[in-house]
């Protein structure tokens, strides 16, 4: 026990020195569990996050837009994969993570439980949702766990085009016909508040945050990140000639930040609890794809085993 305490103290000092932790290093069990939970949740968000956008691939209104959207959703699949890889270095199999996702044990970002009825949503998601995610991800490139930090570096490099793609879609709408402009505003109205919720509960309501900050898994608090996001996004909304759906939004000269209205946390917790418009649909889609693919995965394994056996037989025969 005494040894453990000193190991944990050493670990803290090590992390405080801005050093990276690598897979085979000793780490507190709780650090490992926290990382597995956070990285897999992050991976699941990328994977479930493909669905609301994949929804528009077949209907993208130009071939250029179709290619960009496809490439973007493909990137999300890639990012999910990088993150599953990072979590696997902690000894958690992807199979287990996926089964936790499908059983509801593991969570993913609640934002993806909202539907995408409008093409404008392809812009708003890239601009606001990816924008909010990038805020978080840039911070995570400096996270203390090496494989996670490296995955985030790759992801951030690739994400840079996503937000611009989103903004471009919205800009074309905002500068287009009156119907298109209305489309952009309607979409912004639906996504603004859920985007702010993406940063998670306020700091005083977020019990895991403090420990994560201490271990430098997380580098900035939820409220700090949320404020940065609002400050940076409001001018972008204004540039488009659109309106933020928040009557309380006002620049505060003293703070040097925007003040904004109260988030509806009841909605946030409701959606997390499974009561969002698309919770069931998202998981069912994932389960169906996984089950439909079982015979394919089995066949590939059976074929691989036969190949190995054939090589052995050839060697024996020779």
């Amino acid at each position: 026990m005494g040894t453990n305490v000193s190991l944990e103290e050493n670990f803290q000092t090590y992390v405080d020195g801005e050093n990276k932790v690598e897979p085979k290093d000793w780490m507190p069990e709780k650090y490992r569990r926290t990382l597995i939970r956070q990285i897999s949740q992050h991976a699941h968000s990328e994977i479930i996050g493909m669905q609301p956008e994949a929804n528009w691939i077949t209907r993208a209104p130009s071939l250029r837009a179709k290619l960009i959207l496809l490439a973007k959703v493909q990137d999300e699949a890639g990012h999910g994969l990088y993150l599953y890889s990072a979590a696997e270095t902690l000894g958690e199999s992807r199979e287990k993570m996926i089964s936790d996702l499908q059983s509801g044990k593991a969570k993913y970002s609640s934002i993806f439980n909202y539907p995408t009825p409008s093409w404008a949503d392809m812009g708003t998601i890239g601009w606001l949702v990816d924008g909010a995610a990038i805020q978080n991800q840039v911070m995570l490139t400096r996270t203390s766990y090496g494989p996670y930090a490296r995955a985030m570096v790759k992801i951030c490099k690739e994400e840079s085009f996503h937000q611009r793609q989103g903004y471009e879609v919205v800009m074309k709408l905002a500068q287009g016909t009156p119907e298109q402009k209305a489309m952009a505003q309607e979409s912004l109205n639906r996504w603004w508040w859920p985007s702010l919720m993406m940063f998670g509960p306020s700091d005083d309501e977020s019990p895991n945050s403090a420990q994560s900050m201490k271990w430098k898994i997380k580098r900035k608090s939820n409220d700090t990140l949320r404020q940065e996001f609002v400050d940076k996004t409001v001018p972008q909304v204004e540039y488009l000639g659109l309106t933020v759906p928040d009557a309380d939004l006002k620049w505060n000269d003293t703070r040097g930040h925007y003040d904004f209205g109260v988030i509806n946390w009841d909605e946030f917790y409701d959606v997390i609890q499974g009561n969002g418009p698309c919770n069931k649909e998202r998981i069912a889609h994932h389960v169906d794809a996984h089950e439909d693919g079982a015979w394919v995965r089995e066949a590939a394994n059976a074929f691989a085993q036969k190949q190995v056996q054939r090589k052995k037989d050839t060697v024996t025969a020779a």
Binding site: R59, L67, G78, L81, H285, W295, V296, F303
Partner: protein, 263 residues
């Protein structure tokens, strides 16, 4: 080509008409297949294969754009890649019927890709020597992608064929079901007569295609269907199956609802 359900279809083409048709054969094949494959996004058997199939979808749609862009220049004012993709009705599409067949399960999609990828490989390999410089350039750029696609789909046919009993049975059925759509790929067409010989005549690819398919199916322990079986036809003349109408209705909905908008 007179009598029957293809009655009334054009049988003689000027050189320019033939050139446009030839571009549509290639471009519509690429677009419709790309569109179909893109539906697999988030539905693949494993994440890695989702990424792989999206890659091929990207390649097909990217190739369709290059071909439509060149065709727009031939067509002249007012025509763009997007008017070609979004404002033509099913009668104006020239893709082979094979490509508009539904995705079905993984094996169905893999077999559909295998048939067309193998065809595309020989076709685009030949088109690298085409006297139409732009088309030759597109072929040169595309052949690497197509070679990769052909390898990917052939390997999957082999894996499924020589995998489990279940996968063997399923993929054999995919081959048998899709077989009747393959004959159309090699039909002679008056368009080929109107163009110079450097535009590959699709009917010249049949032997190579049959040999390659036979080889892969044998490796996959699958039965080759009868090459002389009855084949469906119509796509190259704009006579399609019901599937294409739904594909286009979905794909074209937004630009047709807001015809004055730009995206």
């Amino acid at each position: 080509m007179t009598g029957g359900w293809l009655a009334g279809k054009k049988s003689q083409y000027t050189k320019e008409e033939a050139l446009k048709e030839y571009f549509l054969f290639l471009a519509d094949d690429a677009l419709i297949l790309g569109q179909q494959l893109s539906r697999w996004c988030s539905k693949g058997p494993v994440l890695e294969q989702d990424i792989a199939i999206i890659n091929t979808s990207l390649d097909h749609i990217g190739r369709a754009r290059l071909l439509y862009q060149e065709l727009s220049k031939i067509e002249g004012a007012g025509t763009t890649e997007d008017t070609l993709a979004y404002f033509r009705d099913h009668q104006a599409f020239r893709n082979a019927l094979l490509l508009e067949q539904p995705n079905g399960h993984w094996g169905d999609s893999v077999v559909r890709s295998f048939f067309i990828d193998t065809f595309n490989f020989f076709l685009y390999d030949g088109l690298r020597q085409c006297e139409h410089r732009v088309l030759a350039g597109i072929a040169e750029k595309s052949i690497k992608e197509i070679a990769y696609q052909a390898q990917w789909s052939a390997e999957w046919v082999i894996r499924l064929g020589d995998g489990t009993d279940e996968s063997h049975e399923k993929v054999q059925k995919s081959i048998d079901d899709l077989w009747m759509w393959t004959g159309e790929l090699f039909e002679s067409h008056p368009v080929f007569e109107a163009l110079d010989a450097s535009f590959v005549d699709f009917s010249a690819l049949k032997t190579q295609w049959l040999n390659k398919v036979a080889l892969i199916l044998e490796t996959a322990t699958l039965q080759m269907p009868n090459a002389e079986a009855w084949m469906q036809t119509g796509g190259r003349l704009g006579v399609h199956t019901s599937h294409l109408g739904f594909i286009l209705a979905e794909m074209q909905s937004l630009p047709r609802t807001y015809p004055n908008a730009s995206w």
